[in-house]
């Protein structure tokens, strides 16, 4: 089985979010970049398929050279090869079109992406990719088993979960549950050394067009101070929630 894991290069979850160039660009100054958490659950599940079922795992990112350390980290965790599509990611549709080209070229059976990236939160690349390559698609995926060309997946739905049967070729959008937090791997020295020798190929983009355009960023308005209520006067809290906030 050939697996492609899509890796988004995103600011660390604790990053302070600021903008530059008249609020049109994300300020990367002092920001640590990591593998998108939802993608990391998928990558770790892919490692399981590699170790238990002999799958071959390639990781891919659409982005500039600055994303290569993130791809190297995925190689250090255990992926066999990496691909970087050498273009700036402008919107979900453009990224999906570039990825579709990579999938068609490489003949992958299973594509694992994250439910959404924690920076743009579009939640659209995996679905668009599945639509473009006409593969089966399961989103919010919290469990995945593959036997031959048959797959069983579990999807989180509002208020529960559902189990589906499907088949390869398949695209899944994963999240926590695909593996547990405690299953995530920190690259060890041997992995880091080996990652230096693994192939990271840079492919030129198809120059797919973006369909949307980021015009400007805004930060939420600063919040007013908290109203503190004395723990011995909980009546006051009920009163505030009813009469002032009007939420009960």
């Amino acid at each position: 089985m050939k697996i492609l894991v899509c890796i988004s290069h995103v600011p660390d979850t604790t990053s302070k979010i600021n903008f530059t160039d008249g609020d049109t660009k994300f300020d990367t100054n002092g920001v640590q970049f990591v593998i998108n958490p939802n993608d990391e659950f998928g990558l770790t599940r892919a490692m399981w398929f590699k170790e238990k079922q002999g799958a071959n795992v390639t990781v891919v990112n659409v982005g500039g050279p600055e994303t290569e350390p993130t791809l190297r980290k995925a190689l250090a965790i255990g992926a066999d090869a990496a691909i970087r599509v050498n273009t700036e990611a402008k919107d979900g549709f453009q990224v999906a079109k570039e990825l579709a080209n990579v999938v068609n070229d490489g003949g992958y059976d299973l594509v694992i992406a994250g439910r959404e990236s924690i920076d743009y939160n579009g939640g659209m690349v995996p679905g668009m990719l599945a639509g473009l390559i006409k593969a089966n698609f399961v989103t919010n995926c919290i469990n995945l088993e593959v036997e031959g060309t048959n797959a069983t997946a579990m999807r989180e739905i509002d208020g529960g979960k559902e189990t589906v049967s499907t088949s390869l070729p398949l695209v899944i959008a994963g999240q926590k549950g695909l593996v547990e937090e405690s299953d995530l791997r920190i690259p060890n020295m041997r992995g880091i050394m080996m990652a230096r020798q693994k192939p990271l190929s840079v492919v030129e983009p198809t120059n797919a067009s973006a369909e949307t355009n980021s015009v400007k960023f805004e930060k939420p308005a600063p919040k007013g101070a908290v109203t503190l209520v004395d723990p011995d006067n909980i009546d006051e809290l009920v009163n505030l929630l009813h009469n002032e906030a009007k939420v009960i």
Partner: protein
């Protein structure tokens, strides 16, 4: 030329998000000087949609669509958009709608903006405001294609009543074969879900152990709320993953969010920030959550929560 909105229903009844996206579609239609058409799948009585600005309903009734299926539903919405000549398609942010929207966008070759919180700020170029960086920022996004797909954030635009009548007609699209088959659904029907809840009551590590969740559940019951938890609590296995809210868990956009014994790590706050009113109960006055909350109680949850339950019961009895 009308604006098409997918109005979801469950067991024949419209979800609240369906009425919210109908309200949003009406606002877009007013800006474009056109009408709103809703597409419904096995919805039953559709007259309620008229109260939220829908002019016409395309009603699909098909036993093959009883269980949600992303490919089939996306195809139905796409065929409806084509029949109506709709350039704008509006969907909600429910799990199912977020599943369908990217497929619809590919089918219509449409630009898609998700997590949209306001009516378009302009229609030429077509520009919407969406959340980004997990609620830590907003992004103004223009959709530059002829067809546009908009995913509206939950509880952001709200319900806007409108007087009107929605005419209804049967719609019989072709249903493509799907490669994904639902085997089983495991869904608690007696509990309020985090996605649908107006109020969410959430517990953190400050509650010391899973055995102390009785009062969280009781508070939720009094308020008709859903229960949730912080990431450490789900990682420790005190509560199921499905209750984990935050950046890597479920997003919360309720009217009221009550955090008990949660310090308020940046990742947690990002996931619950879209809630309108936040209350924090914590022994530590330095907990970062106090900076994000509207109301706070510095105190021991084991005293404050039982007191709150008692006062709320009295309040309910009085206002019943």
């Amino acid at each position: 030329m009308s604006v098409l909105v997918y109005t979801e229903s469950e067991q024949g009844k419209f979800k609240k998000v369906a009425l919210e996206v109908a309200s949003y579609a009406k606002a877009v239609a007013d800006q474009l000087g056109t009408t709103v058409t809703a597409i419904t799948i096995n919805a039953g009585d559709t007259s309620e949609l008229g109260n939220y600005g829908v002019d016409k309903v395309l009603q699909v009734t098909n036993g093959d669509l009883d269980k949600f299926n992303a490919n089939s539903y996306a195809s139905v919405i796409e065929q409806a958009a084509k029949q109506e000549g709709a350039n704008v398609v509006v969907l909600s942010s429910s799990a199912d709608s977020k599943y369908v929207a990217p497929l619809v966008a590919v089918g219509l070759e449409a630009g898609y903006a998700s997590n949209v919180v306001e009516a378009p700020s302009s229609t030429a170029p077509f520009t919407v405001k969406r959340t980004a960086f997990t609620n830590k920022a907003f992004n103004m996004t223009s959709i530059d294609t002829a067809h546009k797909v908009i995913g509206v954030s939950k509880n952001a635009f709200g319900l806007v009543a409108s007087s009107g009548n929605a005419s209804s007609e049967d719609f019989s699209p072709s249903i493509p074969a799907s490669g994904v088959t639902v085997q089983s659904i495991d869904k608690a029907t007696d509990k309020v879900t985090i996605a649908d809840a107006e109020i969410v009551v959430s517990g953190g590590r400050g509650l010391k152990g899973p055995e102390n969740w009785g009062m969280v559940e009781e508070l939720a019951e009094v308020l008709g709320a859903a229960t949730a938890c912080s990431k450490p609590v789900s990682d420790l296995g005190w509560r199921p993953h499905s209750e984990h809210v935050g950046q890597t868990g479920k997003p919360v956009a309720s009217n009221l969010y009550i955090a008990i014994g949660i310090s308020g790590a940046i990742q947690h706050l990002a996931g619950i920030n879209a809630s309108k009113v936040k209350v924090v109960i914590n022994t530590d006055p330095e907990a970062p959550f106090f900076k994000a909350a509207d109301y706070g109680v510095v105190g021991d949850a084991f005293e404050v929560v039982p007191a709150l339950i008692e006062k709320l019961k009295a309040f309910k009895a009085q206002n019943a």
